[in-house]
């Protein structure tokens, strides 16, 4: 599906999508940085709070630790934990503990699982590492679960000293769950803002790209019109800017104006050429018709003077008949040629092969060889005019050939072109008359009308085809016709 391929998308869409993508990428990057910084700040604040809580416990516990007043130690943890969650509504204390120098539990917020006076047992490898860090530190530290997770935590670790003697450590661990929600909320706000920016950015991008692409679209449409040969009804591109696109539009408008002028000139020339050709034909017709007419009128005049002269009648009647037939042939040829020229009928290409038999009949018992090669697809349909072209070329060749001559007919396809070649090994065309070959009423044959090749030329031209002649004296002649007419139709 070519429509789905981005390469075929209009520039306006590609440009606005690119602008949208850039705005979105920048927006999301900035958003991600803000969210990440927020998260880090929240974590740091939580770590500080955990440390403050641990310090609070550590200050109040040394005496109770010395007296092994487990209940007081437990109450100090419990009060600290309940005060946090009740008063600030802030951060839930996940766990808290007081450990002695050997790592035994002096008090734990979850006494059921962590019995007093027994060594603290970390649940897993990570907990074991945290425990080792907490036991080895002699200064306050913050331990963190790290990462962006709802189950993460920040832990304040404060060693307990009494008279500079190390007595143990307080660990208070705060949950990041509420922070996580807070960070998620702020991330959602950032996301919504980015989304708004993307919408605004893409809107602006669309407007800007449309503005930029509009002159280009006009240039493209103009060039397409040039391709179709429609230059005169081109509307000049409005010039709003003086940038590169503006300059391109100005240049393009100039080119189009010049092309339109040229086209008009060409049309005028073609019109005058047509008039010249028409004049020439009219003159030719007048001349060709006038020639026998003068003889005919003489004959009729003579016969009128000698109405009873049987000899004269026998002599002049065939002349009159011949002259009238000649006039009839000329008019017929002209009519046929013009009629076919206007025709838009199509036919199967197989019709061309019927001409093979026709031309054989034309040859009769003369010793002329015909080589017939049709390499085209049998399903092809071609304009009916082509039959007349082939017929005229073949007749021309056959008429000119002496005994023992050879005509080669070859037809094949070349892309959209139908290529027809008619060759003979006749006397060839003298170079001095080659320019006049396709002129009307030009003939070298004694009884030719001089319209056969003229009709061929007109028909080829009417189909925007090309006709070429290659001829060497005593070597023969080849007519090469190429017409862009290949259309496939169901047979």
């Amino acid at each position: 599906m070519p429509v789905l391929s981005p390469k075929s998308w209009p520039l306006a869409i590609k440009l606005s999508l690119t602008i949208t993508a850039v705005v979105a990428a920048v927006g999301f990057m900035i958003g991600a940085v803000i969210v990440a910084q927020d998260w880090k700040r929240f974590q740091d604040e939580l770590g500080t709070k955990a440390l403050l809580l641990s310090e609070f416990v550590a200050i109040t516990t040394p005496k109770a630790m010395l007296r092994k007043d487990y209940w007081q130690l437990y109450l100090s943890l419990k009060n600290m934990a309940s005060r946090r969650s009740d008063t600030t509504g802030g951060h839930e204390v996940i766990t808290a503990m007081i450990l002695d120098t050997e790592g035994k539990v002096m008090a734990h917020l979850h006494p059921a699982e962590n019995k007093m006076d027994l060594p603290f047992s970390p649940g897993n490898r990570i907990e074991e590492e945290l425990f080792q860090q907490a036991m080895s530190t002699r200064s306050t530290i913050v331990l963190s679960s790290g990462g962006f997770s709802k189950t993460g935590f920040q832990e304040g670790v404060v060693p307990i000293f009494s008279d500079q003697k190390y007595m143990g450590v307080v660990r208070v661990r705060l949950s990041v769950a509420q922070l996580y929600e807070k960070a998620k909320d702020s991330a959602m706000i950032v996301l919504a803002l980015v989304f708004c920016f993307v919408i605004i950015g893409s809107g602006l991008g669309t407007i800007v790209s449309r503005r930029m692409v509009k002159p280009l679209t006009a240039v493209t449409q103009g060039l397409e019109a040039v391709g179709r040969g429609e230059m005169t009804d081109f509307t000049p591109i409005p010039i709003n800017e003086r940038d590169e696109i503006g300059r391109l539009s100005v240049t393009f408008n100039q080119i189009m104006a010049e092309l339109a002028e040229k086209k008009m000139l060409e049309e005028e020339i073609a019109m005058s050429e047509k008039l010249v050709a028409l004049g020439r034909i009219t003159a030719g017709v007048a001349h060709e018709v006038n020639n026998p007419l003068a003889g005919l009128l003489n004959c009729i005049d003579t016969l009128r003077k000698h109405p009873d002269d049987k000899k004269l009648i026998d002599r002049y009647l065939p002349v009159i008949d011949q002259g009238l037939h000649r006039i009839k042939d000329i008019v017929h040829s002209l009519l046929v040629g013009l009629k076919i020229e206007e025709s838009h009928e199509t036919m199967s290409i197989q019709h061309i092969d019927k001409l093979h038999d026709l031309i054989k009949a034309e040859i009769g018992d003369r010793n002329i060889d015909i080589i017939w090669e049709n390499h085209t697809n049998k399903d092809l349909h071609i304009p009916g005019k082509i039959e007349q072209i082939v017929c005229n070329l073949l007749k021309n060749a056959v008429e000119i050939l002496p005994q023992g001559g050879r005509v080669v007919f070859c037809m094949h396809q070349n892309g959209p072109q139908l290529v027809i070649e008619v060759s003979d090994n006749g006397p060839g065309i003298p170079s001095n008359i080659r320019n006049q070959l396709f002129d009307p009423f030009f003939t070298t044959k004694t009884n030719g009308t001089g319209l056969g090749l003229w009709v061929v030329y007109r028909l080829v031209q009417s189909m925007e085809g090309i006709i070429e002649v290659m001829s060497d004296e005593d070597q023969g002649t080849t007519f090469h016709v190429s017409i862009p007419v290949i259309t496939m139709k169901a047979a």
Binding site: K68, D69, Y70, W71, Y74, K78, P111, A112, M116, D117
Partner: protein
């Protein structure tokens, strides 16, 4: 504690602004509702009006503190436990005033409690565990479990892995309910009282042993307080159930009233204390006399 004392003073002061006599001081520990200050205000006002003298409740952490106050003349009356009462003093510094009547008799029990999810069924199951006591001078919460251990030839240091004192009966129940301790000893009166007002903590405990009954913690007067004051106080307390205000106060205390009983009410406690002393005269955890 001083702050509470001061607050109480300011609260009560206007009522007795004209009094010139020094107030009568009444010593209490966490044996009863020491946190319920409004109740103590009402009770002191009630007693003050009846005696026509200002009454001050003096709150102390332990029985020992209250006994010291009695010895030093810091208080005139005190609500103490049967165990300090039966201990021998030379010369005797206190005398029995009156005994609260609880559920029809001046008697109560000691409960050995464990967490309600605990698998422990007997006191002996608590060997090697953590045990919570309230006060080393308490009968139900120290002397009785000590006797149980002695019967097995053990001492707290050897029987339990670890022990601690909460100096607050309610907190002993709390320590067991929150599994800080595996077991604890608590006064039946306090446990039943908490079951009404703090069921959230008693529901998480289970009684695995109930002691025989003992004489209820008595109210004593200091030797040397004049007889009129002593007999007036005794009469007011023992007649509290006869007026509406007194009945309301008794209802709050969940007591039937106060009554006159002979010293022999405490013979069971006396016998236990004697047995303990004979078995281990230098028991480190026993209060020194």
């Amino acid at each position: 504690m001083r702050l509470i004392y001061l607050l109480l003073l300011f609260w009560i002061y206007p009522t007795f602004a004209t009094e010139t006599e020094p107030p009568i001081r009444f010593g209490l520990t966490a044996v009863v509702l020491t946190e319920n200050l409004r109740f103590l205000d009402q009770w002191s006002q009630y007693l003050g009006q009846k005696m026509d003298r200002k009454i001050e409740f003096v709150l102390r952490k332990s029985y020992q503190d209250v006994m010291d106050l009695l010895d030093s003349g810091g208080i005139e009356f005190a609500w103490i436990c049967g165990y300090p009462y039966v201990q021998t003093r030379k010369p005797e510094s206190l005398q029995l005033l009156t005994v609260p009547i609880y559920r029809g008799a001046p008697r109560y029990h000691s409960y050995i409690i464990v967490h309600h999810n605990s698998t422990h069924q007997r006191f002996s199951d608590l060997k090697g565990k953590i045990f919570a006591f309230s006060d080393p001078d308490s009968n139900s919460e120290f002397l009785y479990p000590l006797t149980l251990m002695m019967e097995k030839g053990e001492k707290p240091e050897t029987f339990f892995r670890q022990t601690f004192f909460t100096f607050n009966h309610a907190e002993t129940v709390q320590a067991v309910s929150e599994q800080v301790a595996d077991g604890g000893a608590v006064d039946s009166y306090i446990w039943e009282y908490l079951a009404i007002f703090r069921p959230d903590i008693t529901e998480k405990t289970r009684i695995i042993k109930t002691s025989p009954s003992f004489g209820f913690p008595p109210i004593v007067s200091r030797v040397g307080v004049n007889d009129t004051t002593v007999s007036l106080m005794k009469s007011i307390l023992e007649n509290m159930d006869e007026d509406l205000a007194g009945q309301e106060l008794l209802e709050r205390l969940k007591l039937d009233g106060f009554g006159h009983f002979s010293d022999s009410l405490f013979n069971e406690i006396r016998a236990m204390a004697y047995k303990i002393r004979r078995a281990d005269p230098i028991c480190s955890m026993l209060p020194t006399e």
